[in-house]
Symmetry: C2
């Protein structure tokens, strides 16, 4: 169990619920909390291109400027590493990713679809050449045929990427499927000297179960968010995974997370930020569809679930 | 998959959240919904002894008088069977369980601790002699040593019971543990011609995952409640399991459940009935403790989770 690494992406996936408008006090406390809890990597947000996204529409964690990062972490004098996510097609890598020695970041996570795997690998090689650790997170594989996924994995195995991520974008996988996929990823990644990560969504209340099953089948970089904060049904809750890992003898601590939830997450809910398991997310997850329609439905405060079910079938 | 049977215990476990004060319209619609959804057994509530529980303190589903049952189901002219739960020590079996031919019930579920397994078996033999199907649900086994559980299972294997239930009373089991326990139960039950059931709680967001894993390892009677309604963190949600089983080709339907949730469960929440995953339930589940302290904490509308965490450690 010693090689396990928890990655907290509360700001990044959670930022999709509030357009990244987190208070500095939230971000500072989260940083401290993660250090105390034994989190290995904290994802600070996206590094999205300001050519594509208007700065005034988003909080600063959509862009993660070095200056904004340093206001929180200084030179990051901790053992915890920092990452940002940089989506293929939404990041200007050449302009916006600085050489590692000029950045407080340690890792760039590159999100892609299987159809843009070549661009993702270009981004990996560029970030690698700048001195970063890298991951590639292939999204929406539940809609890919198995051969497409296998080909993408083979290409990644031949690249400089450090970690290949199994991603359940729609929250549609069951635990035995997550286990089988993790084994497939591991079988390709390990001989190439790479690790496997897992990023789960909670549409079917399976984010935690799928994360455990992924881990038991070789995934070692485990994505969580505090209280499951994240797009739609949210993610694997940090407090669930940390509790489990403590029971397995892994060095991590739950109490800082519980304190953070008490102090910040309740306030976030009261402020109207909405996330977590709900019927519309279940229905898109079961049908292997993107949660966008469910997010829209909930944003409109609709509760006609039966109508929604029929709309999905159209 | 054809031998799988869904058992809906919304009224019974859910009744622990509102002292069984369900409106008749709720119960009637739930009955129709379960028939339409393909539920095999509907548990109508408890048959608790009126010597021990004051009638005025509870809704009628705490007692499930035959008259109350027939007001809802008539002579139950459906393929769906009906059950009540009768706890060892809380039911006057001789007085309150009628001969099968005088009752609209099909099955008596006997809940017990391992230390009262002999009384449970006496109850089984009595109910069996009256003509009922029976189950025994051994509670709180996460606090028993394995030998105690094995002994109880051996005794049940030698009894007339039809179904032996794996119960995760505290929501403390992980999926691989649920799988291993299901195999242990199956190994003793099957040679004796008995089936295995599973009843899970959602303290760690694992009720659904544990139910699937139990099923994949031989459990065939699967407890659910609509929208997970149940004591504390609640149970395995019917809509989750039915969605999964439909994907496996099992003959059941999700839409009636979704319609019921839209019509009744939202109103129940608005009326102040509280259930479902929350931090205090997580903390008791992780520590393998009864949720009573968490239920009390939430009833008092407290949110000092860190204090609660420390109280649990005392």
């Amino acid at each position: 169990m010693s090689g396990l690494k928890i990655l907290d992406c509360t700001l990044r996936d959670g930022g999709l619920t509030n357009n990244f408008f987190f208070e500095d006090s939230f971000v500072k406390d989260l940083y401290r909390t993660n250090v105390e809890a034994g989190v290995a990597y904290m994802e600070m947000g996206y590094r999205a291109s300001k050519d594509l996204f208007k700065e005034s529409d988003f909080g600063k964690w959509k862009f993660c400027d070095e200056e904004a990062l340093r206001e929180i972490v200084g030179e990051n004098p901790t053992g915890m590493k920092l990452s940002v996510m940089a989506d293929v097609g939404r990041t200007n890598y050449e302009r916006d990713i600085l050489p590692k020695k000029e950045s407080v970041l340690d890792m760039i996570r590159i999100a892609t679809y299987s159809r843009t795997i070549d661009e993702a690998i270009d981004a990996v090689e560029f970030c690698h050449s700048l001195g970063y650790e890298t991951t590639v997170n292939i999204m929406a594989i539940s809609n890919d045929d198995p051969k497409t996924v296998a080909r993408a994995l083979e290409k990644l195995a031949a690249s400089s990427v450090d970690v290949i991520y199994l991603v359940d974008s729609f929250g549609s996988f069951y635990p035995h499927q997550a286990a089988a996929l993790a084994r497939q990823y591991v079988d390709i990644a390990f001989p190439a000297g790479k690790q496997v990560g897992i990023h789960a969504h909670n549409n079917q209340q399976l984010a935690f179960a799928n994360t455990i099953e992924g881990m038991r089948n070789g995934a070692s970089m485990l994505d969580v968010t505090v209280n499951g904060l994240g797009r739609g049904a949210g993610n694997c809750s940090a407090e669930l995974l940390v509790g489990y890992l403590m029971g397995q003898g892994v060095s991590c601590r739950e109490e800082p997370l519980i304190r953070f939830i008490e102090k910040h997450m309740l306030a976030l809910k009261e402020a109207g930020v909405v996330w977590g398991y709900d019927i519309p997310y279940l229905l898109t997850g079961q049908r292997n569809q993107h949660p966008s329609k469910a997010i829209e439905f909930i944003r409109e405060c609709r509760t006609q679930y039966t109508d929604f079910l029929r709309e999905l079938a159209l």
